[in-house]
Symmetry: C2
Subunit: 528 residues, 2 copies
């Protein structure tokens, strides 16, 4: 399949009119063909009109229809074959195995959402039948279901060209909820975006859905993004990226005449707390494992362990020594884009020159372009508490170890943290007391709490929370990974005394969809 | 119980330091003793410190403990006896039977939330057990529950001095979720607020909860409200009131370093659509019933039918004539406050002088103070579409009938509406086609859709949605009435590979709480 370099508007491919966007192979700094001329406000207007036109029909497709659509997208992505992996490698510098895994995850995610759609629990059906004889007042018949919010804009992420981009978690969950989706492709991987966008386009056609269910926009600068977020037909936004980018979208969405929700996954340092007995029994292995996690994907995971907090002493020294050794042995890895590499280097340089941080070790260097050189720093808890900049994320394989005088100070550091995607305890049974003392703080700070694991690696399942208090995300009440992500794009509607002929299928008395429903406060038993 | 006129800070009663607030009996314009000196930033600081101190312990109280607490509040409110009804009557001008009903609803609501807390479905527990042998990668053990967001500020409403005030729906659902609550009392009914606040205080003491679980603040002007909403320890806001007030809180909450959710229920005209056959078969009775609903509580319900949209013709004429007759026969009713009455009169006067609106009828007048004179207006669909001000809410017993040329124009009017709490269809079986055509639009516009009823009267139950798209509320994804309101004050947390000894009860493998849990994608069968 030759790349066309065009915007995908419904079933059409349209030539843009703004500056050309070219992907750069970060491993070589070579420019990749074709160019993608950006869209303008007219294109945004067109895509939003198509999405709006599709909305009422798409949100009332049957659960089976919508599930089949999600499965068809997965099949069409798989059918692209090696071309997709090759293009994504060229555009991201990520290795083949990683991208194959990411493709598997992306398609698995679409199929999991298909199952979720079919099960229909997301409708959260509640029925309170009429009580005509209740005194002093009869009760009407009241039935609640959830419906889709409306057309959704998804901003592709730089660091997961498949799993958090055109057909990633935001798109899959919004489509599952019944929302048409307009994706603004990340300019770092337009070719990968086009390939996946064409797969969705083909699935829309195959499933005979209204064409406006999906469009794909390209655009450098902020014109396209701002126009999308402020269009009155757009009802929610999904974003994974920098704090500055997320906050700008949030502001634009809040300033609309009708404010809309923005689900921005932005910034986290994902603190790891090696507790005393774990450190004492396992310092060397933990130090090595830490750097293994830090180096994954050149540190370009949202859940990268960018902060370690522990008690001072010989055990921490051993952990640091082991980690330092692993850092020194770390080879370089290609970062996603020249811009990201530049930002990484400037972040590391700021830490090197930071009065309150000490450089512990740096990894190997290389003369290849856009290479991430692993780095490890250390600071006292006192200094960490005194300088908020020390907890800002440096996107890439760098981390800061904070040494605390005692448990009280360690607790202070934990309380001092901003919102996080994850918090990790490294512990033994002997550490249970310390873990219990920290847990309430960590629950308030993070969306996911791990024991004896590493935060990189986010499972797509029912129980996952990839979210957390601000600034980890803009909305702590949700997750952007896992089946609960569908809830972000829904709102409840109550139907009072509607005749059965007018009720949506999910709410009809005989339960034709076989849903798990709350009826008169009890779970309705479902046959089969 | 003598009223003390003090702020309730945890278990203490503290004298304020700002301007005195006095309730005014709107039926007589008499000032009611005692005065309530407003709080200042120091008091806010103190109440927030207490709430924060209470938070971790309160959110981990057992389901049974928290349910008993909610039930104890209901008992203590009932124990106040007639004094509460008498004071609320004096402060609101509302009749005795209405306030007795409202007290019943308030206590019933607390008991319903107690049941909801016990059932524990709001925890939305999801468990994906470890798959150590999965290839290519093993899966960790992942468990999700919901926890309380943090201390919540609730702003009491003017129009429901019990059900939407100190121990109203926002407070009940926030306490049920595990959030400490600080109520900012509405200045129209400080005495009622104190009585109910003391009941909650007594329940906190009886249940041996940390005192910071509840505080009650008074304050005129914006000092107290702004200080509460911007305090970093406050994590959500509940509000029922004007659009201007809600939008100001929203702005303040969004401008915080850590933005927080605001659940503001603000403004709606609750359109009613009498469809052709219903009008043709029943115009006179519908016209009368419409004015009956319009006049309820002097039109001071959030769900007051402030707009009727129908096709022109003899049937609509008959409906209008019947409604006009009912309006003319309507006696006056005392409004909640002199300020509300003034705003009502100026809103009605604006409609009287509005070029595009025609006065159809006005109700009887009276020389008593603060009386609501019912009013009914009419406009053409063309004029309604041309002037957005015609769909602004006038709080009180006034309504606008919009006459449409044909079904297409009626659909246009429906599409032109802002977000609403409710939308109502008056219909017969013959109208099913028209109803089906309108339904998708109404679902997008309103939180609750009624057939052959009137929107006033909001049942407290599982299926209720008292919410809707902006500006009906600031967050269409939720409801402020009914058991689903608890979801507003929760966020998900995922626990990965925690030893059973560290897991919260709700997530332990043996399911000690007997919860309805999603395990490996299936509903766990619960014994009993």
């Amino acid at each position: 399949m030759a790349l066309a370099g065009k915007l995908l508007m419904g079933q059409q491919a349209i030539q843009g009119c703004r500056d050309m966007i070219y992907a750069i192979n970060p491993a070589s700094n070579e420019r990749l063909e074709p160019g993608y001329a950006g869209g303008d406000q007219t294109h945004v207007e067109h895509a939003c009109a198509l999405a709006w036109e599709a909305f009422d029909a798409y949100r009332e497709t049957s659960l089976e229809q919508r599930a089949c659509f999600l499965e068809a997208i997965a099949e069409h992505i798989e059918a692209i074959g090696d071309v997709l992996i090759e293009r994504a490698m060229a555009e991201s510098g990520l290795p083949e195995a990683r991208l194959q895994g990411e493709r598997g995850r992306t398609c698995g995610q679409l199929r999991l959402f298909a199952q979720t759609v079919r099960a229909g629990e997301w409708l959260d059906v509640r029925i309170d039948p009429a009580l005509p004889d209740r005194s002093p007042m009869p009760r009407a018949d009241l039935r609640q279901r959830h419906i889709a919010l409306g057309p959704v804009v998804v901003f592709g992420a730089s660091n997961f060209p498949l799993a958090f981009s055109v057909a990633g978690g935001d798109t899959a969950s919004a489509l599952a909820a019944g929302c048409p989706v307009i994706v603004k492709a990340h300019s770092a991987h337009p070719g990968t975006s086009e390939l996946v966008g064409r797969a969705i386009q083909a699935a829309v056609k195959q499933c005979r859905l209204p064409e406006g269910v999906f469009s794909l926009m390209f655009g450098s600068g902020r014109e396209v993004g701002q126009a999308l977020v402020t269009d009155p037909r757009i009802k929610a936004v999904g974003f994974t990226g920098s704090r500055r980018g997320g906050e700008a979208l949030l502001k634009a969405a809040q300033a609309r005449p009708e404010p809309i929700p923005v689900y921005a996954e932005m910034s986290a340092v994902n603190p790891v707390f090696p507790l005393p007995d774990a450190l004492s029994s396992n310092a060397t292995a933990l130090g090595q494992a830490f750097i293994g996690s830090l180096n994954m994907g050149a540190g370009q995971f949202c859940t990268n362990p960018g902060l370690v907090v522990a008690l001072k002493g010989a055990d921490l020294d051993a952990f640091v020594a082991s980690a330092a050794q692993a850092v020194q042995a770390s080879g370089t890895q290609t970062m996603l884009t020249p811009g990201i590499c530049e930002a990484y280097e400037s972040g590391v340089s700021a830490l090197i020159h930071h009065e309150r941080a000490t450089r512990i070790a740096q990894g190997q260097r290389s003369d290849w372009p856009n290479q991430c050189q692993t780095a490890l720093f250390m600071a006292s808890a006192e200094d960490f508490l005194a300088d908020a900049s020390l907890q800002h994320e440096v996107f890439g394989a760098t981390s800061l170890i904070v040494a605390c005088d005692d448990a009280t100070q360690l607790q202070q550091v934990a309380e001092h943290l901003e919102g996080q995607l994850t918090a990790t305890l490294l512990m033994t049974d002997e550490d249970l007391g310390s873990a219990r003392a920290l847990l309430p703080t960590l629950e308030r700070k993070a969306g996911r709490i791990l024991v004896n694991g590493w935060p990189t690696g986010v499972e797509v399942c029912d129980a996952m929370v990839h979210g957390g208090p601000f600034p980890a995300t803009s909305d702590a009440r949700t997750t952007s990974v896992g089946t609960a992500a569908i809830k972000r794009f829904l709102r409840p509607v109550c139907y009072q005394d509607l005749p059965d002929a007018l009720l949506p299928e999910a709410l009809k008395t005989e339960n034709p969809l076989g849903l798990n429903r709350l009826v008169s406060g009890q779970r309705e038993s479902v046959s089969g």
